[in-house]
């Protein structure tokens, strides 16, 4: 089991760092070019959400192995305001930032799984995975 990679998100340059790490790991796992782009884009969106809404937080990248399959798991964690209506933010076209982020539905479409754990005032944790084909 590989050690998880943790990237602290404190400024916009950390967003670039997070997606570069994601690109490295997905290359190592031999994801195809399109999946590499999906993974790095998804990381970029989640890191930006942290930066925009919570100010600071963490992106953690894990390598998964299950029944001979390998995958990448990305977890985005912050102790920001949290989300009061999860159903609403998972609807296409919903944005509180004036269209800055494509939002979570886009991230969900890019990945194989998408889980969100959030409460108003208690921060947000989003975990996404993609399996190598």
């Amino acid at each position: 089991m590989t050690e998880p990679i943790v990237i602290n998100i404190n400024n916009e340059f950390d967003i670039v760092l997070a997606r570069q790490k994601g690109r490295e790991v997905s290359k190592d796992l031999q994801f195809g070019g399109v999946d590499q782009a999906r993974i790095t884009t998804a990381i970029s969106e989640l890191a930006r959400n942290i930066y925009l809404y919570a100010g600071t937080g963490q992106i953690t990248i894990n390598v998964l192995e299950e029944n001979g399959r390998r995958g990448i798991q990305i977890s985005a964690f912050d102790e920001g305001p949290g989300i009061s209506d999860v159903r609403m933010v998972l609807q296409d076209g919903f944005s509180t930032s004036g269209g800055l982020g494509a939002g979570l539905p886009g991230v969900k479409r890019l990945m194989d799984t998408f889980d969100i754990d959030t409460m108003p005032g208690a921060g947000t944790r989003i975990t996404i995975t993609k399996w190598a084909r």
Partner: protein, 118 residues
């Protein structure tokens, strides 16, 4: 980091070959508009052949700079969007409507010259 903007006759040519952070892409937006004013360029080609990822923020700034360019009376074309980038943009839900695109730099310039020379 600054993205170089080259002038060729009536056109400005930009090839983005760096990892785009927010500041670089916002600086580029301003640099390009200033360069249009300084040179009186009639057309702009922004080539994205070397760009392997466009997230919603970069897409928004690029889309905005094209609209800004057109507000100034100059026509801009995006070229060289890679297959993986096109796929992820659409899956993200970003369609970049009203943005002119071409397969590569050469076709981008030929679209501009057709448009400008009629």
């Amino acid at each position: 980091m600054r993205i170089p903007i080259l002038k060729l006759k009536d056109y400005l040519l930009v090839s983005i070959q760096v990892e785009l952070d927010d500041q670089t892409v916002l600086t580029f937006q301003e640099d390009l508009l200033n360069k249009i004013k300084d040179t009186g360029a009639k057309g702009v080609v922004i080539d994205l052949t070397s760009v392997d990822m466009i997230d919603s923020f970069i897409a928004k700034v690029l889309g905005d700079v094209i609209v800004m360019t057109s507000l100034m009376g100059t026509k801009a074309v995006l070229t060289g969007i890679q297959p993986a980038v096109a796929i992820t943009l659409i899956e993200l839900g970003i369609t970049l409507e009203n943005v002119h695109t071409a397969l590569d730099l050469e076709q981008g310039i030929s679209i501009l010259s057709q448009y400008l020379e009629g």
